[in-house]
Protein backbone atom coordinates (compact mmCIF):
# COMPACT_ATOMS: atom_id res chain seq x y z
CA UNK A 1 0.00 0.00 0.00
CA UNK A 2 1.02 3.61 -0.44
CA UNK A 3 2.27 5.44 2.64
CA UNK A 4 -0.49 7.54 4.19
CA UNK A 5 -0.20 11.03 5.60
CA UNK A 6 -1.28 10.67 9.23
CA UNK A 7 -2.01 13.72 11.36
CA UNK A 8 -1.18 12.57 14.91
CA UNK A 9 -2.48 14.85 17.64
CA UNK A 10 -1.88 14.99 21.40
CA UNK A 11 -1.41 17.48 24.20
CA UNK A 12 1.69 16.90 26.33
CA UNK A 13 2.91 14.42 28.91
CA UNK A 14 1.30 10.99 29.03
CA UNK A 15 -1.00 11.71 26.07
CA UNK A 16 2.02 12.45 23.90
CA UNK A 17 3.89 9.41 25.23
CA UNK A 18 1.02 7.18 24.14
CA UNK A 19 0.92 8.86 20.74
CA UNK A 20 4.67 8.30 20.28
CA UNK A 21 4.17 4.59 20.98
CA UNK A 22 1.59 4.54 18.15
CA UNK A 23 3.91 6.54 15.89
CA UNK A 24 6.64 3.93 16.47
CA UNK A 25 4.19 1.30 15.23
CA UNK A 26 3.05 3.38 12.25
CA UNK A 27 6.53 4.18 11.03
CA UNK A 28 7.69 0.57 11.05
CA UNK A 29 8.27 -0.37 7.39
CA UNK A 30 5.19 -1.13 5.29
CA UNK A 31 4.81 -4.78 4.23
CA UNK A 32 5.10 -4.01 0.51
CA UNK A 33 6.09 -0.40 0.91
CA UNK A 34 7.13 1.39 -2.23
CA UNK A 35 10.62 2.71 -2.59
CA UNK A 36 12.07 3.95 0.65
CA UNK A 37 10.85 1.07 2.85
CA UNK A 38 9.57 3.58 5.37
CA UNK A 39 6.23 3.45 7.06
CA UNK A 40 3.53 6.09 7.01
CA UNK A 41 4.29 9.79 6.87
CA UNK A 42 3.62 11.49 10.16
CA UNK A 43 2.69 15.07 10.91
CA UNK A 44 2.55 15.77 14.63
CA UNK A 45 -0.11 18.25 15.76
CA UNK A 46 0.38 19.75 19.22
CA UNK A 47 -0.29 22.81 21.34
CA UNK A 48 2.33 25.54 21.34
CA UNK A 49 3.56 24.47 24.78
CA UNK A 50 6.92 26.02 25.56
CA UNK A 51 8.28 22.65 26.73
CA UNK A 52 7.58 21.20 23.27
CA UNK A 53 9.35 23.94 21.32
CA UNK A 54 11.77 22.38 18.86
CA UNK A 55 10.59 18.84 19.67
CA UNK A 56 11.85 16.22 17.23
CA UNK A 57 11.23 12.49 17.18
CA UNK A 58 12.26 9.72 14.76
CA UNK A 59 9.60 9.19 12.09
CA UNK A 60 7.87 12.55 12.60
CA UNK A 61 8.31 14.56 9.41
CA UNK A 62 6.68 17.79 10.43
CA UNK A 63 5.40 19.39 13.59
CA UNK A 64 2.44 21.79 13.44
CA UNK A 65 1.16 23.59 16.48
CA UNK A 66 -1.95 25.45 17.54
CA UNK A 67 -2.49 28.08 20.19
CA UNK A 68 -3.00 27.02 23.79
CA UNK A 69 -5.07 29.38 25.93
CA UNK A 70 -5.60 27.56 29.19
CA UNK A 71 -7.20 24.61 30.87
CA UNK A 72 -10.15 26.21 32.58
CA UNK A 73 -13.50 27.79 31.79
CA UNK A 74 -13.79 30.16 28.85
CA UNK A 75 -10.20 29.55 27.77
CA UNK A 76 -11.17 26.06 26.64
CA UNK A 77 -13.93 27.40 24.36
CA UNK A 78 -11.62 30.15 23.09
CA UNK A 79 -9.00 27.50 22.31
CA UNK A 80 -11.55 25.43 20.44
CA UNK A 81 -12.69 28.42 18.38
CA UNK A 82 -9.20 29.64 17.48
CA UNK A 83 -8.21 26.01 16.99
CA UNK A 84 -10.96 25.58 14.44
CA UNK A 85 -9.25 28.04 12.09
CA UNK A 86 -5.75 26.82 12.82
CA UNK A 87 -6.66 23.16 12.32
CA UNK A 88 -8.53 24.00 9.12
CA UNK A 89 -5.36 25.62 7.80
CA UNK A 90 -3.31 22.59 8.85
CA UNK A 91 -5.78 20.34 7.00
CA UNK A 92 -5.54 22.44 3.84
CA UNK A 93 -1.75 22.37 3.86
CA UNK A 94 -1.07 18.84 5.13
CA UNK A 95 -3.84 16.89 3.33
CA UNK A 96 -3.97 14.18 6.00
CA UNK A 97 -5.51 10.84 4.99
CA UNK A 98 -6.19 9.97 8.63
CA UNK A 99 -6.36 11.73 11.99
CA UNK A 100 -5.18 9.84 15.06
CA UNK A 101 -5.34 11.30 18.57
CA UNK A 102 -4.67 10.12 22.10
CA UNK A 103 -6.26 13.23 23.64
CA UNK A 104 -6.66 15.39 25.43
CA UNK A 105 -9.18 18.03 24.18
CA UNK A 106 -6.69 19.31 21.58
CA UNK A 107 -7.74 16.33 19.45
CA UNK A 108 -11.44 17.20 19.23
CA UNK A 109 -11.36 19.75 16.40
CA UNK A 110 -9.09 17.68 14.13
CA UNK A 111 -11.34 14.63 14.67
CA UNK A 112 -14.41 16.64 13.71
CA UNK A 113 -12.69 18.07 10.62
CA UNK A 114 -11.56 14.57 9.61
CA UNK A 115 -15.08 13.23 9.91
CA UNK A 116 -16.61 16.16 8.01
CA UNK A 117 -14.17 15.64 5.15
CA UNK A 118 -14.68 11.89 4.97
CA UNK A 119 -11.36 10.81 6.47
CA UNK A 120 -10.76 8.20 9.11
CA UNK A 121 -10.92 9.73 12.60
CA UNK A 122 -9.30 7.58 15.28
CA UNK A 123 -9.41 8.24 19.01
CA UNK A 124 -7.56 6.31 21.70
CA UNK A 125 -8.84 6.91 25.24
CA UNK A 126 -5.88 7.52 27.53
CA UNK A 127 -4.47 4.50 29.34
CA UNK A 128 -4.84 6.38 32.63
CA UNK A 129 -8.63 6.15 32.21
CA UNK A 130 -9.56 2.74 33.52
CA UNK A 131 -12.87 3.24 35.28
CA UNK A 132 -14.46 6.48 34.07
CA UNK A 133 -14.61 8.13 30.67
CA UNK A 134 -12.70 11.34 29.94
CA UNK A 135 -14.52 14.52 28.93
CA UNK A 136 -12.67 14.41 25.62
CA UNK A 137 -13.79 10.84 24.97
CA UNK A 138 -17.44 11.72 25.52
CA UNK A 139 -17.29 14.72 23.18
CA UNK A 140 -15.18 12.92 20.58
CA UNK A 141 -17.13 9.65 20.41
CA UNK A 142 -19.81 10.64 17.85
CA UNK A 143 -17.23 12.03 15.43
CA UNK A 144 -14.88 9.05 15.42
CA UNK A 145 -14.73 6.30 12.85
CA UNK A 146 -12.60 4.23 15.26
CA UNK A 147 -12.62 4.47 19.03
CA UNK A 148 -10.27 2.50 21.30
CA UNK A 149 -10.42 2.21 25.07
CA UNK A 150 -7.60 0.72 27.11
CA UNK A 151 -9.53 -1.22 29.72
CA UNK A 152 -12.48 -3.56 29.40
CA UNK A 153 -14.43 -1.71 32.11
CA UNK A 154 -14.52 1.39 29.91
CA UNK A 155 -16.63 -0.30 27.21
CA UNK A 156 -19.84 0.17 29.15
CA UNK A 157 -19.57 3.98 28.98
CA UNK A 158 -19.44 4.14 25.22
CA UNK A 159 -21.46 2.83 22.29
CA UNK A 160 -20.80 -0.05 19.92
CA UNK A 161 -17.92 1.71 18.13
CA UNK A 162 -15.72 1.42 21.22
CA UNK A 163 -13.20 -1.40 21.09
CA UNK A 164 -10.93 -2.88 23.70
CA UNK A 165 -8.03 -4.90 22.34
CA UNK A 166 -5.27 -4.10 24.81
CA UNK A 167 -3.40 -1.39 26.69
CA UNK A 168 -0.16 0.47 26.07
CA UNK A 169 0.66 0.47 29.78
Amino acid sequence: MRPLRVLCVASGGGHLEQLLACIDALTAPLPNGRGSGRGHRITLGIYEYSNLRGFRYPGIERVRSVKFMGFAGLAVYASLLVGLFQWAWIFLTEHPDVVLTTGAEVGIVPLVLARLTGRRAIFIETAARLEQPSGTGKVAYPFCTHFFVQSEAMLEFYGPKARYVGSLL
Binding site: G13, N51, R56
Partner: protein
Amino acid sequence: MIFVTVGSALAPFDRLFKAVDEMAPRLGEPVIMQVGFAGFKAANVECLGYVTFGRIQSLVRECRVLIGHGSTGPVLMARRYGKPVIMVPRLPEFGETADAHPLEAAQFVEKKGSRMTEVVYDIADLEPAVRRAQAKADAGLTYEPDPKRERLLQAVRAAVEGREISAP
Protein backbone atom coordinates in the same frame (compact mmCIF):
# COMPACT_ATOMS: atom_id res chain seq x y z
CA MET B 1 22.57 7.71 36.89
CA ILE B 2 19.16 7.55 38.52
CA PHE B 3 16.59 9.93 37.05
CA VAL B 4 13.50 11.07 38.91
CA THR B 5 10.66 12.64 36.93
CA VAL B 6 7.34 13.94 38.23
CA GLY B 7 5.64 15.32 35.14
CA SER B 8 4.35 18.82 34.61
CA ALA B 9 1.76 18.95 37.40
CA LEU B 10 1.86 22.11 39.51
CA ALA B 11 1.33 20.32 42.82
CA PRO B 12 4.33 19.61 45.07
CA PHE B 13 5.65 16.11 45.64
CA ASP B 14 7.97 16.63 48.62
CA ARG B 15 7.23 13.15 50.01
CA LEU B 16 9.20 11.71 47.08
CA PHE B 17 11.82 14.48 46.83
CA LYS B 18 12.78 14.28 50.54
CA ALA B 19 13.11 10.50 50.44
CA VAL B 20 15.29 10.55 47.32
CA ASP B 21 17.47 13.37 48.63
CA GLU B 22 17.98 11.52 51.90
CA MET B 23 18.92 8.16 50.36
CA ALA B 24 20.98 9.54 47.46
CA PRO B 25 24.42 9.39 49.20
CA ARG B 26 23.93 5.65 49.81
CA LEU B 27 22.99 4.74 46.23
CA GLY B 28 26.47 4.72 44.72
CA GLU B 29 25.57 6.67 41.58
CA PRO B 30 24.49 10.21 40.73
CA VAL B 31 20.83 11.18 40.98
CA ILE B 32 19.11 13.82 38.86
CA MET B 33 15.66 14.92 39.96
CA GLN B 34 13.14 16.85 37.89
CA VAL B 35 11.11 18.64 40.55
CA GLY B 36 8.74 20.65 38.35
CA PHE B 37 7.17 24.01 39.02
CA ALA B 38 6.73 23.46 42.74
CA GLY B 39 10.52 23.40 43.20
CA PHE B 40 12.55 21.74 45.95
CA LYS B 41 15.83 22.49 47.71
CA ALA B 42 17.88 19.30 47.82
CA ALA B 43 21.15 18.74 49.64
CA ASN B 44 22.46 15.69 47.79
CA VAL B 45 21.00 15.59 44.31
CA GLU B 46 20.95 17.80 41.24
CA CYS B 47 17.48 19.29 40.79
CA LEU B 48 15.97 20.46 37.52
CA GLY B 49 13.02 22.85 37.54
CA TYR B 50 11.86 23.61 34.02
CA VAL B 51 12.74 20.84 31.57
CA THR B 52 11.56 20.34 27.99
CA PHE B 53 9.83 17.15 26.91
CA GLY B 54 12.76 16.40 24.59
CA ARG B 55 15.29 16.81 27.42
CA ILE B 56 13.28 14.40 29.61
CA GLN B 57 13.49 11.84 26.80
CA SER B 58 17.30 12.18 26.67
CA LEU B 59 17.61 11.92 30.45
CA VAL B 60 15.54 8.72 30.46
CA ARG B 61 17.69 7.33 27.64
CA GLU B 62 20.85 8.13 29.62
CA CYS B 63 19.72 6.88 33.03
CA ARG B 64 20.01 3.35 34.45
CA VAL B 65 16.96 3.52 36.68
CA LEU B 66 13.86 5.69 36.33
CA ILE B 67 11.69 6.80 39.24
CA GLY B 68 8.44 8.44 38.21
CA HIS B 69 5.10 9.66 39.49
CA GLY B 70 2.25 7.27 38.73
CA SER B 71 0.40 7.67 35.45
CA THR B 72 1.38 6.75 31.94
CA GLY B 73 4.32 8.94 30.93
CA PRO B 74 7.20 7.41 32.92
CA VAL B 75 6.06 3.82 32.32
CA LEU B 76 5.94 4.32 28.57
CA MET B 77 9.26 6.18 28.46
CA ALA B 78 10.95 3.52 30.56
CA ARG B 79 9.70 0.82 28.20
CA ARG B 80 10.76 2.78 25.12
CA TYR B 81 14.32 3.07 26.38
CA GLY B 82 14.41 -0.31 28.14
CA LYS B 83 14.94 0.99 31.69
CA PRO B 84 13.70 -0.47 34.97
CA VAL B 85 11.09 1.88 36.44
CA ILE B 86 9.71 2.51 39.91
CA MET B 87 6.34 4.20 40.05
CA VAL B 88 5.56 6.29 43.10
CA PRO B 89 2.00 7.45 42.43
CA ARG B 90 1.02 10.96 43.47
CA LEU B 91 -1.72 10.55 46.04
CA PRO B 92 -4.71 12.85 46.57
CA GLU B 93 -4.58 12.52 50.38
CA PHE B 94 -1.17 14.27 50.41
CA GLY B 95 -2.33 17.03 48.04
CA GLU B 96 -0.04 15.71 45.31
CA THR B 97 -2.73 15.35 42.66
CA ALA B 98 -6.30 16.47 42.11
CA ASP B 99 -7.60 13.04 41.16
CA ALA B 100 -6.71 9.38 41.57
CA HIS B 101 -5.59 8.72 37.99
CA PRO B 102 -1.88 8.21 38.87
CA LEU B 103 -2.94 5.69 41.50
CA GLU B 104 -5.26 3.85 39.10
CA ALA B 105 -2.57 3.68 36.44
CA ALA B 106 0.00 2.44 38.96
CA GLN B 107 -2.36 -0.25 40.22
CA PHE B 108 -2.99 -1.32 36.64
CA VAL B 109 0.73 -1.61 35.95
CA GLU B 110 1.25 -3.49 39.21
CA LYS B 111 -1.53 -5.95 38.44
CA LYS B 112 -0.25 -6.54 34.94
CA GLY B 113 3.22 -7.15 36.33
CA SER B 114 6.58 -6.98 34.56
CA ARG B 115 10.04 -7.77 35.84
CA MET B 116 11.01 -4.20 34.90
CA THR B 117 8.28 -2.33 36.78
CA GLU B 118 7.62 -1.87 40.46
CA VAL B 119 5.10 0.29 42.33
CA VAL B 120 5.85 1.93 45.67
CA TYR B 121 2.98 3.31 47.75
CA ASP B 122 4.71 3.69 51.12
CA ILE B 123 7.75 5.92 50.65
CA ALA B 124 9.68 3.79 53.20
CA ASP B 125 9.71 1.01 50.58
CA LEU B 126 11.46 3.18 47.99
CA GLU B 127 15.10 2.53 48.87
CA PRO B 128 14.92 -1.28 48.66
CA ALA B 129 12.99 -0.89 45.39
CA VAL B 130 15.77 1.33 44.00
CA ARG B 131 18.35 -1.30 44.98
CA ARG B 132 16.37 -3.99 43.19
CA ALA B 133 16.09 -1.77 40.10
CA GLN B 134 19.84 -1.10 40.17
CA ALA B 135 20.43 -4.86 40.27
CA LYS B 136 18.16 -5.27 37.20
CA ALA B 137 20.17 -2.62 35.36
CA ASP B 138 23.44 -4.34 36.39
CA ALA B 139 22.12 -7.66 35.10
CA GLY B 140 21.03 -6.07 31.79
CA LEU B 141 17.41 -7.22 32.17
CA THR B 142 15.01 -6.14 29.44
CA TYR B 143 11.23 -5.93 29.04
CA GLU B 144 9.37 -9.13 28.26
CA PRO B 145 7.11 -9.01 25.17
CA ASP B 146 3.62 -7.65 25.87
CA PRO B 147 1.04 -9.26 23.55
CA LYS B 148 -1.85 -7.01 24.64
CA ARG B 149 0.12 -3.86 23.96
CA GLU B 150 1.23 -5.27 20.61
CA ARG B 151 -2.38 -6.14 19.77
CA LEU B 152 -3.53 -2.58 20.41
CA LEU B 153 -0.70 -1.13 18.32
CA GLN B 154 -1.50 -3.48 15.45
CA ALA B 155 -5.22 -2.63 15.70
CA VAL B 156 -4.38 1.08 15.59
CA ARG B 157 -2.21 0.52 12.54
CA ALA B 158 -5.03 -1.46 10.90
CA ALA B 159 -7.47 1.38 11.65
CA VAL B 160 -5.08 3.94 10.17
CA GLU B 161 -4.72 1.82 7.05
CA GLY B 162 -8.47 1.21 6.81
CA ARG B 163 -8.13 -2.54 7.21
CA GLU B 164 -10.49 -4.80 9.11
CA ILE B 165 -9.44 -5.14 12.77
CA SER B 166 -9.21 -8.78 13.75
CA ALA B 167 -11.12 -9.65 16.91
CA PRO B 168 -9.04 -10.12 20.06
